[in-house]
Amino acid sequence: MSESARQDTPEQAEFRQFCRQWLQANKPSAPSVRLPLSPLEIMTQPQMDYLQEWQKAAYEAGLVGCDYPVDVGGGGRSDCQRVANEEMIRARTPFMPNVIGLGMAAPTVFYHGQQALKERLLPRLFSGEDIWCQGFSEPGAGSDLASVQTFAERKGDKWVINGHKVWTSLAHFAEWMILLLRTDKSHKYDGLSYFVVPIRAALGNGVTVRPLIKITGETGFNEVIFENLEVDDSYRLDELGKGWQVAMTTLLHERGAGELQTPRSGGMKSKATHATNTGNLIELARNTPRNGRPAADDAVIRDRMMQLVIREHGLAQNQRRARVSALQDHPLRLQLQNKLLASEITQDTAALAVEIEGASASLYLGDDNAPAGGQWPMAYMNSYGMTIAAGTSEVQRNILGERVLGLAKSK
């Protein structure tokens, strides 16, 4: 029995038992298609079909949305999503495709939507039948998110939306979008409002989705253009002008610091998996010659690898300590570091791997002589997506400095 199981409440213990039995009998078999590394890189319909089928089965068994109330399609349990997540990860199930929906849209709709909207949207979100995407960033609004210009103009009890969103992962599969936009041009923050928008139904009729190509050459996200799209006022979340506050709920959950646990699954190996971690880094150093000896014998390389090992363990132990209230100094202090640390450690690990590879790091995916199939240079380039997306590292440091240390707000 694992240690976390030993600390379960009676409800959690019983639920854990159920999850284990269900997963044993119902874990999906390996897919016939190659799975991507993360839900944000799902490219083809067969990949999506396989993953949606898994999420639906998990939802119907009660492993998704466990802590949401029953009337909105949840399980009505108390702190049980954590248990389901632990068991799904232990069972190495596939990841869930509706990652934006589960992690960001669901808590936002739940805390800010009207009851009828929750009852209509959340069950199909949890089941993965409706994929969700997020319309926040724009060409002119990145780190300074509150400067979004996408505008909704009132027309009776409808709104007419015009604007341009970018970096929209999963938009090419999405039924729905959470959309931060402007309803008043005279106030920066108080002029923002928040909607849920059925984009798939409006494709070619007010909504255009176009893929953007990443620095690595892969696709994965999109730009979404709104031209006179009409939406009903009932799709607005919270009051007019409260968009910024609603967006904070979204971002808090995105950063793993929200009230509701995000359903998480994963661990099933895809064929392309080559995780950017220090275990693989050390393996690379053992197998790469440097001055006639393995690079792993070089004192400087050893020291730099150990610096990364220590940071990687430090992050894992932070996450463990975040569950022990007596060892915390501020309720958000560890939680708000997660994304910043994970992205920077990944970046520095990939950067060192590229250095260790030396001249061979110049060889990319299409070259048969590329070590590890060219995965390290690709991981290094991809790592910049992580240090830029969801609030750049610079923005994360502002947030930590202001919200945790209480320093004066920077412009």
């Binding site: 940071r311 300590r321 440091r397």
Partner: protein, 375 residues
């Protein structure tokens, strides 16, 4: 063996940490520390050993010196993770006392089997002790010592002995004809001379101790095994001390940059100040998490004790240096003066950074474990 998810940091540990924090903040504010240890500004001063014996006596009566002594030897037998919580608070207060030294000696004695029991019983009764196991070169290799033991008598000199003027006993590592032994000796024994070092750190005292045919009680004839076993606890507790002191440095500096105004803004408004202070916080948190992991491993997963403690002390040594540098820099001109309290912690952290191995030393040892030794 697996570790408990909560590091084994239960209610008793939380209460101990909490009461230690209250104890120091009530009885030993930083201005009191400054008055006590920083009266003499002369850079060529001899080392002094100013400390608050009355407060120390209260700590002894609270049982803090016998926390790590096993119950079988009359102690309290608390897990390392609980002791680490106390030591973190000790570091935050920078309280000059032989608690850490006594705990260090306790872990070595507890790893000596039956031979350590008499000495442990003395610690349980309130005696204090320190390790005398380091040579003139300051080697942290436990096999290196300049002291010899011949026919039960010690000769030679042990260096970098912490709190030598405050403790009642020393646990000495000495070469013997057959290997390396550990010896228990009173600091007022005939032939033993404590020669204080003039050190930078005002919150500690350090000495080299010479032995001229000093009669000593053998605790272990195979001292290396006991030392190897106990070192992870020693590294971890010093890392806990550093963590607490670094948190003081962070909070004190945050307070200053929130008050001090330049260019019509508090200093903390500027990202050139804000972001490095966030980096200090990040380093402290990594360090603290690794400390409790290592402390937990010492009791619950001994096979990984050395590995996890190397991580903790390597991270702590980096944190000590970085937090100290930023604390002085962001206090500006006043931070460069004797009257500003930050120098007390700057100096304590510099001492802690190097003691029992700096970051590079611990990373090299960690690499030997995780990557393998270089042939």
């Amino acid at each position: 063996m697996t570790q408990p998810d909560n590091f084994g940091f239960g209610e008793e540990a939380a209460m101990l940490k909490d009461s230690a924090r209250k104890f120091f903040s009530e009885h030993f504010p930083t201005d009191k520390l400054h008055r006590m240890v920083a009266a003499d500004t002369n850079p060529e001063r001899m080392s002094t050993s100013e400390w608050d014996r009355e407060l120390w006596q209260q700590m002894v009566e609270l049982g803090w010196t016998s926390l790590a002594v096993p119950e079988s030897a009359g102690g309290i037998g608390m897990p390392v993770v609980a002791v680490a919580g106390l030591v973190e608070e000790l570091g935050r207060a920078a309280f000059p006392c032989p608690l850490l030294s006594t705990l260090n000696a306790t872990y070595v004695l507890a790893a000596c089997g039956g031979g350590g029991e008499t000495a442990l019983a003395e610690i349980a009764e309130g005696r204090t002790a320190s390790l005398a196991i380091t040579n003139r070169q300051g080697s942290w290799n436990t096999a290196d010592t300049d002291v010899l033991c011949t026919q039960g008598k010690l000769s030679g000199t042990a260096w970098f002995v912490q709190d030598a003027r405050k403790v009642d006993r020393l646990l000495v590592s000495a070469q013997t004809s057959s290997g390396q032994g550990l010896y228990w000796v009173a600091t007022d024994a005939a032939g033993l001379t404590v020669e204080p070092d003039a050190i930078v750190d005002l919150t500690r005292d350090q000495a080299h101790v010479s032995f001229d045919n000093v009669a000593a009680e053998e605790v272990s004839g195979d001292g290396l095994v006991a030392l190897e076993h106990a070192m992870p606890a020693i590294w971890t507790l010093l890392a806990a001390d550093i963590t607490g002191a670094a948190e003081w440095q962070l909070q004190t500096t945050v307070e200053y940059v929130s008050t001090r105004q330049q260019f019509e803004h508090p200093l903390g408004f500027f990202q050139a100040v804000k972001h490095p202070l966030v980096n200090v916080m990040i380093q402290i948190d990594q360090c603290k998490s690794l400390v409790y992991n290592a402390a937990c491993a010492y009791d619950a997963e001994p096979a990984r004790a050395a590995e996890t403690a190397h991580m903790a002390k390597a991270a702590a040594s980096e944190t000590a240096a970085f937090a100290s540098g930023r604390s002085v820099q962001y206090h500006g001109g006043i931070g460069f003066t004797w009257e500003c309290f930050v120098h007390l912690y700057f100096k304590r952290q510099k001492h802690s950074q190097l003691l029992w191995g700096d970051a590079a030393w611990h990373r090299a040892k960690l690499a030997d474990i995780l990557v393998g030794e270089v042939a």
